[in-house]
Amino acid sequence: MAMAIEKPHAGEGGEHETTTGLPNTKLAMWLFLASECLLFGALISTYVLYRGASTVGPYPADVFDIPYTSVSSFVLLASSLTMVLALTAAQKRDVPRMRLWLLATALLGLTFVGGQVYEFTAFYHEGLALSTNLFGTTFYVLTGFHGVHVTVGIFMLLSLVGLSGADRLPDDAGFPVEMVGLYWHFVDIVWIIIFTVVYLIPTGPTPAN
């Protein structure tokens, strides 16, 4: 949908025609996301490798509240929709709508991160700390890394809103919104994988305790 960008303002040094015709920033964002795939790939691999390897509890089945996390996952996925709406508004140069949808996206992201903080706190009170067992180690680090990524995305969304408010975005704000959107969708997609691998696939029998 985002093929209408002709003059990217966010691309540094891209004032003349590029070789591929694509803006530098967009290619760089794709390459960065490809790199991120391996980052999460290695983290998820670590988690999978250590599934069921904890020698002491609590085990996943002891702490997980699947309905709760499903709701917060739904909230995060819904933010991809509002992100698309923000991009459409930006491309139509409808600044008020763009700000509205960007704020909505940030708010949904914030809800997700808030939910994660609550979840971490609850698990901690149930006896699962970072250093309790391998499950705590791999669970907190993997989902925490993802949470940090969402938080960075929220910063970027709020920066866009702030820049737009200060009238520092180009008239055609579609390009920067699209770049942030690429990152945001990526983080959402990663969550689908993490949610499936961590929460939905059962760990199998845990050692009796």
């Binding site: 691309g11 540094e12 040094g13 891209g14 004032e15 003349h16 590029t18 070789t19 591929t20 694509l22 530098n24 290619l27 760089a28 390459l31 960065f32 490809a34 790199s35 991120e36 391996l38 980052l39 790939g41 290695a42 983290l43 670590t46 490798l49 250590y50 390897a53 904890s54 020698t55 002491v56 970072l130 250093s131 067992n133 391998l134 705590g136 180690t137 791999t138 680090v141 890394f145 910063f155 920066s159 820049l163 520092r168």
Partner: protein
């Protein structure tokens, strides 16, 4: 449109830096050439430091029962030697050449993201200084450059925490640089510069950047896990809680083996530029060179477990990785044969760049052959963790990369500094280096096969290892003498201030030589239209139709430079200097110290990073007039 002398101010807050010359301009520059020089100088300083560490190692081992260093100091010295040479010398030195040369070879005015480029440099430098602050703050890293767990997770000194944090910082620098340079190559080529008209050096640059982009995140995860284990008591590599130290080895070598090609492919690119110029022949089998480079890049991700044959992965895994390791020798061999074929029948000129290039190929072949012996699993069982391995990787990395770097210094010095290094001193340094290098690392094959274990800080006389160790130490000091000769050469060249006889002193083939020496800030007055591989050569020479020999092209086809460069370049749109890359970079070591000492420092560092990035985001890349 801004002119070259930029005078804009940021519309609010800090006055934007505008000076393109003078001491302070180095801190705010976004010019790829200045950044390239800064990369080169910093990397060379780290090379000297790492070299002094090597001399300490060799002095300790010159006698049985050496007492210069105790075991603890020795562990720190050899670990810092490895980290320094790999992460703070060879990688940034490659980045120096890529930075300086890629835009020039592609016919571009700068890299795709000039400020990100400055950011990469500052992050690398600060990461290196962070690592080198560790000896003053409780001990340097001491677990070897590959930091095997659980030794690295349980060591009580602070060193390996510095290791994890320092390499995370330099990793950020490399990743940002890799994205930047890859996009530059893909997207910033001059009109007509199709992929298969790019010099092989540029191709190798592209492969290296992709290797970095896909290998660095893996070690990043490994280093984070190491950091969490050390700092916050997690159990990633803790066998007592069900963790598996072998996971660290997998994560490390899944990065570490592509890293080997990250270290050597730039050298392959340099050699591929130097040999055709001094053989006065086009590179033999250009497309084979390119595709074998790409093949090395791909296969490089499938051979990592040959570093772990002795870890007990089982016969199936060992066989598979033994086979893939043997396979990767094929594209590498293709390159060697193509260089030989380029030399064959050429009009050879044995200048110092050429000597270093041929030296690099020759030494690399020796290292490559000992590498093939590692692919044979039973043989590797015998060699692993002995000096035989030390000999092998110094032959490929020192013999390959470092020889190529010295060739590159001599070859591109006139381009960068408009001064020519002394050929006599260059050749003297080369021969001392060649002899010293072989005296140092040749005997290590014998020592390794005689059972001398890698990383042992001393050995008893009864093992009979003394003689070859003494030879190796003698060789190490010869290497130091050669590097000293090179430094004298540099000093002498710059004190004499002898102007260049010609702006194209080597009769070169590629676009960077179409610019004046040194190139103006905007590189090309007019972006060249590219018609062929070796564009510059084809502008200078045409083939005589009757005799088939080369004759100079008609006047006007050769490069012309305006006599008065100061007048030129107005109206060229260049990115302006900026404080923000440096500011954003400073936050990272602050965060890292915070992880060691206090959450307040982490918060402060994060704030600096945030302010830096915000300032960066609102600052236009080109200041308004």
């Amino acid at each position: 449109m801004a002119s070259v002398s930029v005078t804009g101010t940021s519309s609010r807050g800090l006055r934007r830096p505008s000076s393109l010359t003078g001491f302070w301009s180095w801190f705010t520059t976004v010019d790829h050439k200045k950044i390239g020089i800064m990369y080169g100088v910093s990397a060379f300083v780290f090379f000297i430091v790492g070299g002094l560490e090597a001399l300490l190692i060799r002095t300790q081992l010159a006698q049985p029962d050496g007492t210069l260093l105790n075991a603890d100091q020795y562990n720190q010295i050899f670990t810092m030697h490895g980290i320094t040479m790999i992460f703070l010398f060879v990688m940034p030195m490659s980045a120096a050449f890529f930075n300086y040369l890629l835009p020039l070879m592609l016919g571009a005015r700068d890299v795709a993201f000039p400020r990100l480029n400055a950011y990469s440099f500052w992050v690398f430098l600060l990461g290196g200084l962070f690592l080198y602050s560790s000896p003053f703050l409780g001990g340097a890293p001491n677990g070897g450059w590959f930091g095997y767990a659980p030794n690295s997770t349980t060591d009580p000194s602070i060193g390996m925490t510095f290791y994890a944090l320092g390499l995370l910082i330099t990793g950020i620098a490399s990743a940002a640089g890799a994205v930047n340079l890859a996009i530059t190559i893909i997207n910033m080529r001059a009109p007509g510069m199709s992929l298969f008209r790019m010099p092989v050096f540029v191709w190798m640059g592209l492969v290296v950047q992709f290797l970095l982009v896909f290998a660095l995140p893996i070690i990043t995860v490994g280093l984070f896990e190491l950091l969490f284990d050390r700092r916050w008591g997690t159990h990633f590599f803790d066998p007592t809680a069900g963790g598996d130290p072998i996971l660290w080895q997998h994560l490390f070598w899944l990065f570490g083996h592509p890293e080997v090609y990250i270290l050597i492919l730039p050298a392959f690119g340099i050699i591929s530029e130097i040999i055709p110029v001094f053989a006065r022949k086009p590179l033999f089998g250009y497309q084979f060179m390119v595709f074998s480079g790409i093949a090395i890049g791909f296969i490089g991700f499938g051979v990592w477990a040959h570093h772990m044959f002795a870890a007990g992965l089982g016969p199936v895994a060992n066989t598979a990785f033994g086979v893939s390791t043997a396979i990767i020798a094929i594209p590498t061999g293709v390159k060697i044969f193509n260089w030989m074929a380029t030399l064959h029948g050429g009009d050879l000129r044995f200048t110092s760049p050429m000597l270093y290039a041929i030296g690099a190929v020759t030494m690399f072949v020796i290292g490559g052959l000992s590498g093939v012996t590692h692919a044979v699993v039973p043989s590797d069982y015998q060699q692993t963790d002995t000096y035989y391995v030390v000999a092998h990787f110094h032959y490929v990395i020192f013999g390959g990369s470092v020889f190529a770097f010295f060739g590159a210094f001599h070859y591109w010095w006139p381009k960068v500094f408009a001064r020519q290094l002394s050929e006599t001193l260059g050749k003297v340094a080369f021969w001392i280096l060649l002899i010293g290098f072989n005296l140092t690392f040749g005997p290590m094959h014998i020592l390794g096969l005689s059972g001398m274990i890698r990383r042992e800080y001393t050995y008893p006389e009864s093992l009979g290892l003394t003689f070859w160790n003494q030879i190796a130490t003698l060789g190490a000091f010869l290497i130091a003498l050669s590097v000293l000769t090179f430094m004298v050469n540099v000093l002498r060249t710059h004190i004499r201030k002898q102007p260049l006889a010609s702006e194209d002193p080597w009769d070169a083939r590629t676009l960077e030589w179409m610019t004046p020496c040194p190139p103006p800030v905007y590189n090309f007055e007019e972006i060249p239209q590219v018609h062929s591989l070796d564009e510059f050569w084809h502008r200078k020479y045409v083939e005589d139709e009757k005799t088939g020999t080369l004759v100079p092209a008609q006047a006007g086809a050769a490069p012309e430079h305006d006599d008065d460069h100061t007048e030129a370049g107005h109206g060229i749109h260049l990115p302006s200097p900026s404080y923000w890359p440096l500011v954003s970079a400073v936050g990272l070591p602050v965060i890292a110290y915070g992880v060691l000492y206090s959450w307040w420092l982490v918060a402060a560092g994060a704030l600096v990073v945030l302010v830096g990035f915000m300032g960066w985001a609102v600052e236009p890349s080109v200041a308004e007039d």
